[in-house]
Structure formats: C-alpha cells, structure tokens
Symmetry: C2
Subunit: 238 residues, 2 copies
DNA sequence: GCCATCCCGTTACAAATCGTTACACACCGT
DNA sequence: ACGGTGTGTAACGATTTGTAACGGGATGGC
C-alpha cells in the first residue's frame, strides 16, 4: 500500500507524444490506497447500465474505478447524448469538479468503485503539497487528453476517429499487460458514436470497411482483432 | 495588490451553467500580482501574428495576458491547423503543463503578457495549500470549458457552433463591462474556422446567413452587432 | 425445448450538410 | 494605381447523415 511519504519530490513528466491518444491516462500512481482512511472496506458495486451519478448531483466523493468500464456522458436538450469520456480500472473520476458533477456517469459493465470523501482529498492537499502537485498533474493530463480528443472531433474524418479510438484502446491494453491486438469493447455502437460525434450507422459502416480492408477482424461485435496496426496508424493521421 | 493571505479559505464554486460557453474563464482572482517577485517590471510585448512560443518548447514560465488576444493552436502533419483556445486579458496560459508546451501560441493583436517563473509557482504550491486549490480550481474550470467546446464540435451544426462562439464573446464582453451586443473580432475567419472545425467558407456563409436573417449586423468584417440574442441562443441549442 | 419478441447491429439508398474549387470584391499599405 | 491579403458568393462534389428494412443473438414466456 503506497504511503504518501513514498511519493517522489518531483512530478514525473512523461514524454508527451504530440499525437497521443485521447483516452484519459491511467491513474495508478495516485489511485492506490493512500491511507486506510481513504479506502472503503467494501467497494461499491454497480451493474451494467446503472447510473453512478447524474450531472448536477452534489459530488461529496471522488471515485476510483476498481473494476469495469464507466461512461461519462451528458444529455442535450435536443435529445442528443454526448459521451465525454470512458473510465477504466485505475482511473479517478471527479477529483477536480469541486461541488457539482459536470456530467453523468453510467456503468457499461459490472463496475466496482472505491468512494473517496472529498474532504479527505482537500485535507491531503492542505497537508501534503506534493499531493497537490500530483492532482495538478492529473488534471493537466486529463486536459491534454481532452484537447487531443477535441482535435480529433474538429479535424478528423469518421475513419480517422475510429482508428484513433481503436488504437487508444489497444494502447491501454498494452499498458496494462493485455494483448494490444485484441480489443474487447465494453461499449455499444451508440456509445462509440456519441463519443466520436458520429451516428451509429457511420460507426457500423466504418467497422465493416475496416474489416473488408483486412485491417481488423470482428469475430464478435464486441471483439476487435487488430490485424494491421500500421494501416490503422496511417488512417488515424488523416 | 492581492496578497495570498487575503484569499478566502474555501474555493468559491460559481453556479455552473449546463450550457456554459466554451471560452476559458477569466482568471482575475489568481492572475493579479501575488507578490512583487512574481511580476516583471515590464510586461513582454508582442506584435500581431507573432508567436509567443511553439508546441514542444520548454515552458519555464507561465503567461498572464495583460492586453490583447492570444490564439493557442496546433499544426497537424496533414497541414491542417487546429485552434485550441483563445486567451484574453486576465487569462493564464500554461499553468498546468509541467515541462513542455502542448500547443503553440500566437498573438492575434498587439499583446502584452507578464511572465511568471514556474519555479515560483511550484514554491507557492508547496508553501500555500490554498494556492494549490486555486490552481486546481482553474484547471477544473478550463477542463469544463474544454469539454463544453468538445461537445460543441461533436454534436452541433455549423450554425450552432457559430452561435455559441458569438455568444461566448458577447458574454465575455458583459463580464468585463463592455457592450455585450457589440463583438469586435480579433481573429480572422481562418482562426474561427480552425477553432470551430469549419472551413473559412462555411464561417463566411454562416455570417452572411445570420446577417440576412437580421440576427446580427456586420458593419465591418471585424465587428459583429448582435441584433437578436434570443434567436442566437435558440440557434446555439440545436 | 420451442417460439415470439426485443434490442442491437448491419446494410442499402436517398437526402443534406459541409468541403472544394473557382472567381470577384474590399481593404490596406506600398 | 498596384499587388497582396483577407473575405464574400456561387456551383459542384464528397462525405456524412437519415430513413428504412433486414438479420441475428439474447431474453422471456409458454
């Protein structure tokens, strides 16, 4: 269990890829249990498609994803849904939204989360300056990733967005020691579409196109096998 | 001159509009001179279209905009340019990118900026926990605004994006005490297009359409008079 | 076990939006 | 006046979306 005193004095600055992938960075450094105080005896459990919280809810706790995938989303008055981000095990949610949730959060799979009271977080900021710098680093990383995603939405074609998305999931696998050529999609086509600013049909068509081109295989609708990562990278550029 | 000791213990949480506008929030609270140390005797001056720094540059200082408008942008390998954000007087730039700039910054007008050494910022974080919380709040606000812009790019039409953009500029005017019905554009059509993920022609067409509809007037290409804010708001929704 | 139903994904075709191309005009400084 | 830059307008075309129909797997009742 990582004690705060074990944290290094300087914030590590990982080399930043200009075309880094848009999903939020893993949070292992900070999300490991910090003190017994912070950790619930039993993580909360949610089942698939259950909402963890809604936009506008008071956020007295931040969440650490222990198991499963969470979808952060917002509903627009015209009925559209926009998916802000996906959160995976190790990620922290809501550590920089002071009083009120700025988006809703829904479990895509069975999910286990630890709930960390915000006042403890604030207390740590007060007493441990290095902790504050850690949080700032997390916020900076999330901002960078969000900007990356924004660039994707502003400047890239449907094909390129899908390629970036798949490569991001593959990279996460690689970083967690899983097979980077096999991506299991916890999210539906609707979720992907709402995340990438595309319709479900375009998402589906693009999957089919990639399959026909031999770049991916789709043994099941929820499983993507990356056959030609180089072609995907090429596609992710334009 | 604001001393740190004058800062309140609690971070103020302004009520957050679900459909807040995408430009970054004003930073007056924190950007006012904190100590004599932090403030250059003479702010640096840049002329229009001059780069303040480039993506990848080492960021030993953060910048406070004193006068003028700054455009944060990134160049893509395919030649496209993406405008990340616009920064106005009172805004801080680069306070949460530890070592390396994640975007380039260009002056759109004559610009004056104060350069605040990063090591002083870090020192303040170590010694003043409330300062750290302030910075976290700034980062959270910028993240929220970036997400707002992202939603705009993902889910809104060209018309709606333009409406949101104009309303954001108008709101900034209102907050600074200027006339909210008169917007002076420091940026060109290209800048706007690269910010909203549209081409210059679409930007131009949409301006013309709004003018024909009597929603705005364009006495000059750089001056927008908002005639029907309600219609703009309506347009910004869908 | 069997069948009906529902949800999700896929595909095809028509429609719309937006990008591309091309050209003309306005403004500005030389 | 001239050229350059920035902008406005129009015709055309490509990408993406909307609509609709079909298929397939999962669920649930009988």
């Amino acid at each position: 269990m990582l004690a705060l005193s074990a944290m290094p004095d300087t914030v590590s600055d990982s080399p930043r890829n200009v075309f880094a992938l848009p999903l939020p960075p893993r949070r292992d450094e900070i999300s490991e249990p910090i003190t017994e105080q912070l950790v619930q005896a039993m993580p909360s459990v949610y089942s698939a498609r259950e909402d963890l919280f809604l936009e506008g809810d008071e956020s007295s706790h931040i969440l650490e994803v222990v198991e499963g995938v969470i979808c952060a989303y917002r509903l627009l008055p015209d009925g559209h849904r926009h998916v802000v981000s996906f959160y995976f095990p190790g990620d922290l949610i809501g550590y920089c939204s002071p009083s009120t949730q700025t988006f809703s959060a829904q479990a895509l799979t069975k999910v286990r989360v630890r709930r960390i009271p915000r006042h403890l977080l604030n207390q740590l900021i007060e007493t441990r300056p290095q902790f504050a710098r850690r949080l700032l680093k997390l916020a900076a990383d999330e901002l960078t990733m969000t900007r990356e995603h924004m660039l994707c939405l502003a400047a890239k074609s449907a094909e390129a967005r899908m390629a970036v998305f798949l490569l991001a999931l593959a990279r996460r696998n690689r970083e967690t020691g899983a097979d980077p050529t096999r991506v299991d999609l916890a999210m539906t086509r609707v979720d992907i579409g709402d995340y990438l600013g595309l319709t479900i049909e375009t998402v589906s068509r693009t999957f089919s196109k990639l399959k026909r081109a031999g770049i991916i295989a789709l043994p099941r609708t929820t499983t993507v096998l990356i056959r030609d990562a180089a072609a995907l990278h090429e596609m992710a550029q334009g």
